[in-house]
Symmetry: C2
Subunit: 171 residues, 2 copies
């Protein structure tokens, strides 16, 4: 797997992942019907570093190797002014590529990038409590739950569920 | 005092308050040098309800009464999609009009508006812990501290200080 800064050429693959992840409506507080344009504007906001995770794979009709974008993440200041030393990040893995450690690899890459860029901490503002694999992954990578908003997410099957703020110092 | 929806005619007064409040850099995570254009775009975002608090006052050179904008607040969904039932709000009072209960009056008005608009809860994402009067006011109005991000705000005099997430159900 290779994780690198996203380029124009990755936009279509990112939109496909974004659309698939958001359509389920069970992990992210985006409108599931968000347009391609709005989604990419958010993911490539001027203050945002955008990355992709690529896997080598064989093209179906030949033995030629190709790379496939299987995940993407963004890293940016969580706030402006006096809050800009804390990073925020968001991660998405293609639904058919989940369970292969791509989220973990991107998480580790992201923490390293955040340190390189001089951020002093990282915060996730909106981790849906029923997204157990994400909560567990972030805890494994050093994040702590520092806040709980009761019933702050309407899960499509589970109804109103809690949302966590997760945080870790990078010092 | 009168609290009502902001109009085009209030933009100059709102910008003056916004600028004065943000310039101090000790309560809000905005760039203290934010432009008028960016500030008003944020305060009048399409998904945002914008209000002003007006006080009757006498014009200096006559006995004619006039209204002065002494405070402003915004109310909007804190998140999209599955998080849109929780409201977010932000409040600003003109520095020379503080300590007169304008913040409290706007807070009560805001909670009532949020209920009227059908929000199920309200969350403040970024209450600087050293802003004691704000923390106390929100607690008096029913908010609880549900999260603490350590050292997440760089106060211009006090250095790195904690930031609270404050929340209350409206049901």
């Amino acid at each position: 797997m290779r994780i690198c800064a996203a380029t124009e050429a990755d936009r279509e693959a990112i939109w496909n992942i974004f659309h698939d992840v958001v359509a389920s409506g069970d992990t992210y507080a985006f409108d599931p019907g968000i347009s391609r344009r709005d989604a990419l504007a958010y993911w490539f906001r001027p203050d945002t570093h955008t990355y992709v995770a690529k896997l080598n794979c064989f093209k179906q009709s030949s033995s030629e190797q190709a790379e496939r974008v299987v995940g993407t993440y963004i890293l940016r200041p969580n706030q402006f002014g006096g809050g800009s030393h804390v990073a925020n990040a968001a991660f998405m893995v293609a639904p058919d590529a989940q369970g292969q450690g791509i989220g973990r690899a991107m998480g580790e890459h992201c923490l390293s990038e955040a340190r390189r860029l001089g951020f002093r901490a990282m915060q996730f503002n909106f981790v849906v409590s029923t997204n157990r694999s994400a909560v567990r992954l972030w805890q494994n990578l050093g994040f702590k739950i520092v806040g709980t908003s009761p019933d702050a997410f309407r899960h499509p099957e589970k109804g109103y569920v809690d949302v966590y703020v997760m945080f870790q110092s990078l010092l």
